[in-house]
């Protein structure tokens, strides 16, 4: 069953996930878009390692792309309808197996904002293009 993918929107209705994706190199973006396409088609349970759970952040998942840099995109199931939706929350680059400080906290904060105001704090996924 296909899933609906949403992007987090900030207070000014900007789409920071899309802006971050557009900053990626072309091949890394292609790999990330492929993962998002599979997520939309199959969800994350079928494909092992597609979206991994995170220690200490029970509601978040991580998409990993190992291209020219270690691309990490944080997302959650739902958070409004847990059976049909994923929401892309926050992107980051991992260096030496370390994420920038506050990455998971930021993603979780965005998830909470969506739960409080789902109409304004998320929109349908906008595909990043080069």
């Amino acid at each position: 069953m296909p899933w609906t993918i949403y992007d987090y929107r900030d207070r000014r209705n900007r789409n920071p996930v899309k802006e971050w994706c557009e900053s990626l190199q072309k091949k890394d973006l292609a790999r990330l878009n492929q993962r998002i396409d599979i997520l939309a088609q199959s969800g994350h349970d079928l494909c092992p390692g597609l979206a991994s759970n995170l220690h200490g952040a029970p509601h978040l998942y991580k998409l990993r792309i190992n291209g020219s840099v270690a691309v990490r995109l944080f997302l959650c199931k739902g958070p409004i309808n847990m059976n049909t939706e994923y929401t892309l929350l926050h992107g980051a680059f991992e260096r030496d197996d370390e994420l920038p400080p506050g990455t998971l906290e930021t993603a979780e904060e965005y998830r909470q904002e969506i739960i409080r105001d789902p109409v304004n704090r998320r929109g349908l996924h906008e595909r990043a293009k080069k």
Binding site: K26, A30, R31, I38, A40, L46
Partner: protein, 175 residues
């Protein structure tokens, strides 16, 4: 045309983009199919490891879409353990789209020989012609003939360009 088809039709005009996307799809397909075939046969990773002469952590690595260093010899060992043939083909990019759209457990499952119905039927004459016709045309060509007018992908360069590689464990006669 679906949104996915529309996106890929535009994005795949870029050579680097389509090869990166197809590489990632290949990794996703193989890792997921290994897990699905193992589960279809009700095997644990440890049991599959014993059947293939590998260590269990190695199976866990192979069943991860983030793994990309596939070897045909390793896939051959897995195919034998699953009682399937290994099929390695070069395919046109347009054939990737139905694979993405149809990515689900059923599309990845394959019957082992004992459950491969064609070999165990008494009257297979009517099916023979279809199987032989499919074998002559090839899966990629069949798809191209049926969908070329819909997808209208740009022509690939003709001088030695082979498209993306596909490594697929297939049951004989399975679609």
């Amino acid at each position: 045309m679906s949104e996915l088809r529309s996106n890929l039709r535009e994005e795949f005009r870029d050579r680097d983009y389509r090869h990166a996307y197809a590489d990632e799809s290949l990794n996703t397909w193989i890792a997921t199919q290994i897990k699905v075939l193992r589960e279809q046969r009700r095997l644990t990773q440890k049991q599959l490891a014993e059947m293939t002469g590998m260590a269990q952590p190695r199976i866990a690595v192979l069943e991860d879409v983030n793994y990309s260093s596939w070897s045909i010899n390793t896939l051959r060992r897995l195919a034998e353990a699953f009682d399937l043939r290994l099929s390695v083909k070069f395919e046109a990019f347009s054939s990737l789209i139905p694979e993405i759209e149809g990515m689900n457990r059923e599309a990845l499952e394959r019957p082992q020989f004992e459950d491969d119905g064609w070999f165990h039927k008494k009257d297979v004459q009517s099916e023979d012609s279809e199987i032989l016709r499919n074998a002559r045309e090839g899966e990629g060509q069949k798809y191209h003939h049926r969908h070329a007018s819909v997808l209208q992908f740009p022509q690939q360069p003709s001088s030695g360009f082979l498209g993306t590689g596909a490594l697929i464990a297939s049951g004989a006669g399975a679609q």
